[in-house]
């Protein structure tokens, strides 16, 4: 019997090509001298009217093939003159706005595309960019949530108050509940902007075939089907004329789910117009100022609770900075507003938010997608309640947990997918016990006191989250068993390093009974699977994993049926092991899957030895049609998975930090994670996802921010100044424990795992640093994240403290 691969740490099949330098990322496609290269003229102003654009100097430059501004677009493809699509409309988004592929009359952030150049190579294209003269009439910029709310100036003239959307959800009369609560607290919190910052930026290559009138596009995207549809619509092509292939992608983390980016349309347009392969490879500076950011929010929380710390009323209001445009709708603030609740069950909850325009880069989901902010709001509140009641922080959380026997648990809200926010399963008390053991929660106070006696400040924090993963609407899969016995699998969503080719092959090998090395998985190629949604919301394993499992099941059913006929046995007596169908208990009576595949497809022509056996003269009953009614030729299985609602993973993190009393440097001493994503397909890969998420969380909590000045210039648009952590900034060791509470919603009992690692970081670091500082400064409270040593130093200055002691010398 073949050992099940589900749940085992199988080594990744994709690594072979990556490790040899044979990966194919989008900039590696079409490396030849005939390929043309694009560059973009970008706005240097955060808010300005375009008075005039003069491209005349470019026309004389040798090696330039095209230079376009907005005025050229309509003539090239009529729909290109319309604004880019608003991908996810929502009734609350009353004032949604999107940009044009090239700015029409106004620019609304530094970096907005104004003109597009195509040249022999990127060097010449950048020379041309430098020669385009744009006259701007500078308008007052709106930067930051405070300025947006003040609305002294407007980002868009026709959007009053800079408010794109106002939304409210509630489960009862929160004001009455607050009034009736024995204790009340208020918190004002902020979170600053950060960004996904994948190592590979965006990129698109397009090739137009004039003979077949078809367009082939390679794009570094999280949704090839989305890009395909957008390109077809915008270029006025039939869907069937466009293929989109997602090659290897050097990280996404959310930013590549937004689409179409201006270049994602302009490159195919140029390829068609010029009849040449055209490539755009975003550089790092462009990525900072023209791809998306996330996270920026200001939050106000009022909470009422009893003596045990139980939430009787939770009233949250927040202001979300969505940047200059809203192509991705309200997904991020809706997730914040709903997932804020985490594993808790407040008696009454109300949340209101405003999604605000600012003259900054657009905001679309970044790993966690609004959850880190929600978790931060909720967990800071829990810490504040514990502090107020002088109770253990873990105890207060436990008092509010949804209990294992309460699932499915309906939070009484509507989630990001328009479905009820109903948790399917979980075991939060067990999770907390594991975490406390893993981090040494109960022993920590003694350690803290011991360190304090030595003049050192150590602190501990914990934070809990629940993450809705695997949202719909659907994913599909196609499984094809070739006559060689090899299994070709296609699913439409894309891959950015999650090891899909490995985990999906594990599922197919298990279900079909074939060797994993015989399974090859293709993702993100619309030629192979034209119906798909995309990779976001920790959905790939749940959605495509389930679809692949179902498709493999169908292929297996067919294989067994054909094999049973061929072997003249009952198909219930058959099993498939290592690609061979045999009668259970009598392995001599067998047929390999390749032969079954041959038999599945009655042929007229024989082209090799195997196919001779499948000609219509050899197979089938002469008295019946070669392909039976209702049957299809070929050994394939295709299926889709479309769940009623999301499945809810959960987890808890704890961190121990030390803060330097003099320099305010923050050192991580221990990081612990308890994680529940249901059944694990490949624990090695799940842990890798957690490691990466934690590292991004450390970055987001302690290092990374988008520093805009008041004129809307991004001051740190480089890796010199946007401080992504190196190994030296990441804890040496992350302790992980798993809990496996299966989801009842899908056949594999799995939940998503991609984003989890990053969700609690702002919350958990704020708690731990505050705890460490309170060793010396009992009133110090952290309300703004991320926090740098400089900011911690400033916080200390604002708090009454004993006279600074003389530096100890050894």
């Amino acid at each position: 019997m073949t050992t099940k691969l589900m749940g085992t740490p199988v080594q990744r099949v994709e690594d072979q090509r990556f490790l040899r330098g044979h990966g194919r990322y989008v900039d590696d496609v079409a490396v030849d001298e005939r390929t043309l290269h694009a560059a973009v003229v970008r706005s240097p102003h955060a808010h300005a009217r375009i008075v005039d654009i003069d491209v005349s100097a470019v026309l004389d430059l040798e090696g330039v093939h095209a230079v376009w501004t907005y005025d050229d677009l309509a003539g090239l493809a009529t729909p290109m003159a319309e604004p880019l699509p608003l991908l996810i409309p929502h009734p609350a988004l009353t004032h949604g706005r999107t940009q044009y592929a090239l700015a029409r009359a106004e620019v609304n952030y530094v970096g907005e595309a104004v003109a597009f150049v195509v040249a022999d190579d990127r060097y010449v294209a950048e020379d041309a960019v430098g020669l385009v003269r744009v006259d701007y009439e500078v308008l007052p910029p709106v930067v930051g949530i405070d300025r947006a709310r003040a609305a002294d100036h407007l980002v868009h003239d026709d959007v009053p108050g800079n408010v794109g959307a106002r939304m409210e959800q509630k489960t009862g009369d929160v004001e009455a509940a607050l009034a009736a609560a024995p204790h009340r607290l208020q918190l004002d919190l902020t979170v600053e902007r950060s960004a996904c910052m994948p190592m590979e930026g965006r990129g698109t290559v397009a090739r137009w075939d004039p003979d077949t009138h078809r367009l082939q596009v390679w794009s570094s995207t999280q949704t090839s089907t989305g890009v395909r549809a957008a390109v077809a619509v915008k270029l006025g092509l039939d869907l069937g004329q466009v293929d989109v292939i997602t090659p290897d992608v050097g990280g996404g983390f959310g930013v590549k789910i937004n689409h179409p980016w201006p270049e994602e349309l302009l490159v195919p347009l140029a390829a068609r117009t010029l009849g040449r392969t055209v490539k755009f490879t975003e550089d790092r500076r462009e990525h900072f100022i023209s791809s998306a950011h996330e996270r920026g929010q200001v939050q106000h929380i009022e909470v009422g609770f009893d003596d045990e710390g139980r939430l009787l009323a939770l009233d949250v209001e927040f202001w979300h900075d969505h940047g200059a445009y809203t192509p991705y709708g309200l997904i991020v603030p809706i997730i914040t507003s709903t997932q804020l609740l985490g594993p808790y069950k407040p008696q009454v909850y109300r949340v209101r938010f405003e999604s605000l325009y600012t003259n900054t880069v657009i905001v679309t989901p970044y790993r966690g997608a609004g959850r880190p902010q929600g978790c931060y709001a909720m967990e800071r509140t829990m810490d504040a309640i514990a502090d107020f009641l002088d109770r253990d922080r873990a105890e207060v959380r436990a008092a509010n947990f949804i209990q294992p026997d309460e699932f499915p648990f309906d939070q009484g809200l509507v989630f990001q997918d328009g479905r009820e926010l109903e948790y399917d399963s979980g075991d939060y008390p067990a999770s907390l016990e594991k975490l406390k053991a893993l981090v040494g929660w109960d022993d920590f106070p003694a350690y803290q006191a011991e360190m304090a006696a030595a003049g050192r400040r150590v602190g501990i924090g914990l934070a809990c989250y629940v993450e809705g993963t695997g949202v719909g609407p659907y994913e599909g899969a196609h499984v094809h068993i070739e006559t060689s016995g090899k299994v070709k699998v296609a699913t439409g969503l894309t891959t950015q390093g999650q090891g899909h080719a490995t985990v999906f092959a594990q599922l197919v090998a298990d279900e079909l009974g074939v060797r994993m090395e015989d399974v090859e998985v293709v993702t993100g190629d619309t030629r192979r699977m034209p119906y798909a949604v995309g990779t976001f919301a920790s959905r790939a394993a749940v959605m495509s994993g389930s679809a692949i499992h179902l498709a493999a099941k169908r292929a297996k059913e067919k294989a067994l049926r054909i094999a049973a006929e061929a072997l003249e046995v009952d198909e219930r007596d058959l099993e498939i092991v290592d690609g061979v169908v045999s009668v259970k208990g009598s392995p001599g009576t067998s047929i390999d899957l390749g032969t079954v595949s041959v038999l599945s497809n009655p042929l007229r022509y024989a082209f090799d030895e195997a196919s001779k056996a499948a000609t219509q003269f050899s197979v089938g009953d002469p008295g019946r049609p070669p392909v039976a009614e209702g049957d299809e030729p070929g050994l394939e299985g295709k299926d889709f998975y479309s769940p009623e609602r999301a499945t809810f993973a959960s987890g808890m993190h704890a961190v121990i930090v030390e803060t330097d009393p003099l320099t305010a440097e923050i050192r991580i001493l221990k990081y612990a994670v308890v994680h529940d994503c249901g059944h694990l397909i490949n624990p090695m890969i799940v842990e890798g996802q957690i490691h990466g998420g934690v590292a991004q969380g450390v970055g987001g909590a302690l290092y990374e921010r988008m520093a805009y000045d008041e004129s809307g210039q991004l001051l740190n648009a480089s890796f010199m100044d946007f401080l992504m952590p190196y190994v030296t900034e990441i804890p040496d060791g992350i302790d992980i424990d798993h809990l496996e509470t299966p989801s009842p919603l899908n056949p594999l009992g799995i939940k998503g795992a991609g984003e989890a690692g990053v969700i609690p970081s702002a919350a958990v670091f704020a708690a731990a640093i505050e705890d460490a500082e309170r060793v010396a400064l009992p009133d110090l409270t952290i309300t703004a994240m991320p926090i740098s040593p400089s900011e911690l130093h400033a916080l200390r200055q604002r708090h009454p403290q004993p006279r600074p002691h003389r530096q100890e010398r050894s």
Partner: protein
Amino acid sequence: MKPAPFDYHRPGSLAEALAILAGEPGAKVLAGGQSLVPLLSMRLAAPAALVDINGLPDLDAVTVTDDGVRVGALARHADVLASTAAAERQPLLGMALAHVAHATIRNRGTTVGSLVHADAASELPVVLRLLGGSVDVASVGGTRTIAADDLYLGPLESSVAPDEIATSAWFPALEPGAGVAFDEVARRHGDYALCGVAAVVRVEGDRVVSARAGFVSVADLPTVVDVTDALTTVDAAALADLGDVVLPHLDPADDVHATADYRAQLVRVLTARVVGTAYDRARERGTAR
């Protein structure tokens, strides 16, 4: 992010290089390129020509004599750091170099290049000033030696003329009775320091004869302050007060990474720590001999 076009020269001799520089007023010298190439790629610099000196012979030596360490124009940071003889003769050089960016950058970046790039956020210029070192430069007109105190004119501005090539730098040996130390605080390991402090303290017995501290990233120029007078007695209190002695000579500024106030705090903490360590080392050396 691609450089604008430029003319390129790769001379085979110093004389040839100097002749090209003399004839091309807009030319820049390319050695390690670890600061210059990113400026080119961001098009923050667009010189008409580059004179690549990587093909010049005999400029890559790290020569250690009794008096000090001479570092040739093509010696990479990594070469200097790898020289145990250099570390013995002037330990401060290696201490500072260990903080220069990351190892991969040090493999290509040159010590002399870093000195004449004149960045007050770099470790080496202040070390050169603190040690009283110098840089030898050549032009078609001849050669001259620029003392470290005369080298730095302004932010990213040195007194090396456009037609001159810095051919070597001189770091004097550690004096008898002296101890040195270096420390810095950066946001990430390998980043430019938010504040860095180097110190040379010379003692006779326990008495401080001379104490000087140099500062990275907290002034427009690489700045050295003499703190001898503040150390008539050396104890925790005296060291803790050094910050207030040196801060009037410095000008810490706000940027996206830190406030001026925080940098001033680092000046206080690091000055006490680094001068104290240099003092201890000076006494240890005295005792050892």
